[in-house]
Symmetry: C2
Subunit: 169 residues, 2 copies
């Protein structure tokens, strides 16, 4: 066995998005059980100038999908940001995972040495593929998955670290 870019990107993101989907279900079940509108959770945020839950989920998906597309030099599929329900967010996560799984390991071979340009609001960042994965893609995906988890936790949804990690083996 050799460590591959695929194992450290597609596999890691697919697993994290699977956990995200599973703990979102617990959020929705919590709303049903407590008899409040699930949309209340979707609009919740941890600071007035942070994005709410819906956007955190969209961003987790987009950062996973767009990062993989960048690493393989593809144009990523674009998903409109129109979700207004847990069901629609689950569908977006599923579409994202489908895209990730469509990328074969061979397409990511050697991606660690590729030169990548990442346009951000302020400037265009230039990376080698490895640094992009280490210090941009992985931290960003986990940032938004963790934020989604914490918005639910902050609102009283009963979740534990196991829900965040999923089944790690």
């Amino acid at each position: 066995m050799k460590l591959s870019m695929h194992a450290m990107s597609v596999d890691v993101f697919t697993h994290a998005l699977g956990s995200l989907s599973a703990f979102l279900e617990k959020g929705q079940a919590h709303a049903t059980q407590k008899k409040f509108e699930p949309a209340v959770l979707l609009a919740s945020r941890l600071a007035p100038d942070m994005f709410p839950l819906t956007r955190q989920v969209q961003l987790a998906c987009d950062l996973a999908k767009n990062s993989i597309a960048r690493l393989v030099g593809q144009e990523p599929p674009r998903f409109p940001d129109t979700e207004t329900s847990f069901e629609e967010l689950h569908a977006r996560i599923a579409r994202t995972i489908d895209y990730l799984k469509s990328v074969p390991a061979s397409a990511l071979e050697g991606a660690e040495t590729r030169d990548l340009k990442v346009p951000t609001r302020g400037e265009t960042l230039e990376f080698k593929g490895l640094a992009f994965l280490q210090h941009w893609a992985i931290p960003n995906v986990f940032f938004h998955v963790t934020t989604a988890y914490l918005i639910l936790r902050h609102n009283g949804v009963e979740l534990g670290k196991r829900d965040f990690l999923g089944n790690p083996r």
Copy 2:
């Protein structure tokens, strides 16, 4: 260049802990500027049954340090959980980074195929080194770094994604 376990663990965690240290400084500066006790931030949490900021920082350090030690088959250095100030937390992060940097890339070669046992509260988890890194060590470290960031953000500290990511290149 070949993708290495060292690049995907020691490098990733060292960078994330460096960002953690830098945004904690902004938290402390915020307290000074707003004239409240920095310890208020250290005791803040996002849910009554979650750990406060101090413990999140301790856990980020321990998960980085202990994960690397597990991967190389060493006994990790133990740090007592006695920090009561930002200064002491910075010192813990610095000690953790020193340990991470003391592990040579050669010690992690082949760690992806090692059989690891991770005792948790409920049971002992068994992993291959690769799955341990993908689905345990990386998610756990970023969970606690992100939670530390969000506790500060939730308390009005002016931070942006750039503070979380550090200088990604």
